[in-house]
Amino acid sequence: PNKPAAESGGEVPEKPAKAVTLNILDVAGNLQLTQGMIDDFVQQHSDVISKVTYSKGPAPELAGKIKAQQNANRVDIDLVLTGTDGLAAGREQGLWTDLLTKYSDRLPGMKDYLPPAAKMQELGGKEGVTVTYYPSGPLLEYMPSKVPSPPKTADDLLAYAKANKGKVTYARPANSGPGRTFLMGLPYILGDKDPKDPVNGWDKTWAYLKELNQYVDFYPSGTADTMKALANGSANVIASTTGWDINPRVLGTVPKEAAITPIQGFHWVTDAHYAVVPKGVSTDKQAAILQLLQFMLTPEQQAKAYDKGYFYPGPAIKGVELSQAPQESKDAITEFGRPEYDKLIADNPTEVPLDAKALVAAFDKWDREVGGSKVKKS
């Protein structure tokens, strides 16, 4: 697979000279949504892509690996599926090929993005192509049997936490999607000065979190642990997102009865997955990738992104209905989905997440001032 990347700089042809093999690396769990699309493409266009190998890895180490390959001039990863974090990390180090400046016209599907997905695409810049999107959270999840009247506002939540010490929790933001969504969503709920500036603009948020901290026993190191805590009763209210609400109940790790509640005045802090091409990938492969991405951005294919609610709803483009989704998806979402989501998504504003730098600063501040202060206490 190690071919010197000499032919990576030139003009990208419409179609590869001969069918290529693609190595796809997923660091976002995106294949769960898109592997079906890719497989379909390969099946239908074996003259473009003859074979795909998939590999998976955690996002943080991604940049290092690509960098090592590029330094050695032997890139053997052709397409990366990543979230905002991996995308930004790579961009900062100049790892990604700028596809869109020259070839955006080959991806007409991008014109049909849902408005918030389009905003996410702006974050993607000229390198990343949004392939799936979801509004995410923040939401609160609880067990109705234990919490008959769930907190509806931020103050409610605080009061509930105070009354039920140790029963409210969220995962450490750096390790958890719902955790960070909760963190990023709070400034909107509390009406902070600058929701995009965690260091100087989040006074209310930090004050709130520190107060809440007094009633939190510990912050689990992953969302799964909070879900488990909810399921086994050691926590009553946790932070969640649409996907984390539906999918674990489909999987059975959280009881079906679990319910969600929005916090009054919240804005969705959206999330998306991107496809990016590392620098050094041959023009033939780039051509194939462009064709593949265009294929993936058709409504028919996007419908597969409903999955089992994992990235609910999932499709990034307009006009994709659940009815178009595979039967399995339909069944799962019919049973475990929530009708109220449509309304919540329609009625609440959406915001793009913090950019990478600001997010890291927020994590750092949270670790130092919220999570880390636990040391002194216990």
Binding site: S55, G57, P58, A68, A224, N232
Partner: protein, 281 residues
Amino acid sequence: MSQKVRTIRATPLGWVIWAVVVFFFVNLAGVVLSVLVSSFGTKWFDTWFPSGFTTQWYGDAWREFTLFHVIVVTLLVSALVVVLSVLVGAPAAYVLARKNFPGKRLVYLTFLLPILMPPITYGIPLATVLYKFGFAGHLSGVVLANLVPSVPFVILTMTPFIEQVDPRIEDAARMLGAGTRSVFLKILAPLLVPGLLASAILVLVRTVGMFELTFLTAGPDSQTLVVALYYSMSAAGIRAQQSVDAMAVIYTAMMLVLLVVALRFVNPTQLVARVKEEPSE
């Protein structure tokens, strides 16, 4: 030696020690079983046991990560790393155990550093080097990268074992015409079996568990189990707790198989064999 064997002697201190060991293992069994049970469970909320059992998680993991291939690669990588690191490391350990020479401290430090330094410091440049020479992306790259901490590890663990061997035994072999190679193969190796086995097992464990260097140098066909495990554990996205448990169980099961094979391959009693047995009582 007589056929008679003794049972464990029971001094008061002995009982305390065994009690602690038993306590440790009861709890350890709890730890392991809880994962095992969970990996086969459907829903497990606030109860003693899951509400039902299924093998679904294993099936999912098997398909998602094409585990068969991954396990084959893992076995291959770990076998190669173990063999190569012993081959390269044991002679060096020999010299460090037997000889005093100028610059020994410097050499020792050089061998210590790869163990002390976290892969963060050298992983990426190492991967670059390996990519440059066309190793990375293949099995060979993964093996080479894993050798970096493994070789010094073998050196460090083997040194005391070699020190224990009486040099006159080697002298005797040389007098009988054995060259260095024969001394190693015919004399030292059998005497060092417990040491070789111990350090091989430890290298094995470390290699199978070495995520960072493996990930950095692996290509799509040379991923090992630990990459899949870490992915399932820490990658973004939603994953049933049970499926992580299932991966962990698969990982442990594979390691266990390797351990058992290692112990079979070399006569298992040799793990604790000694040349001079204590007299049986």
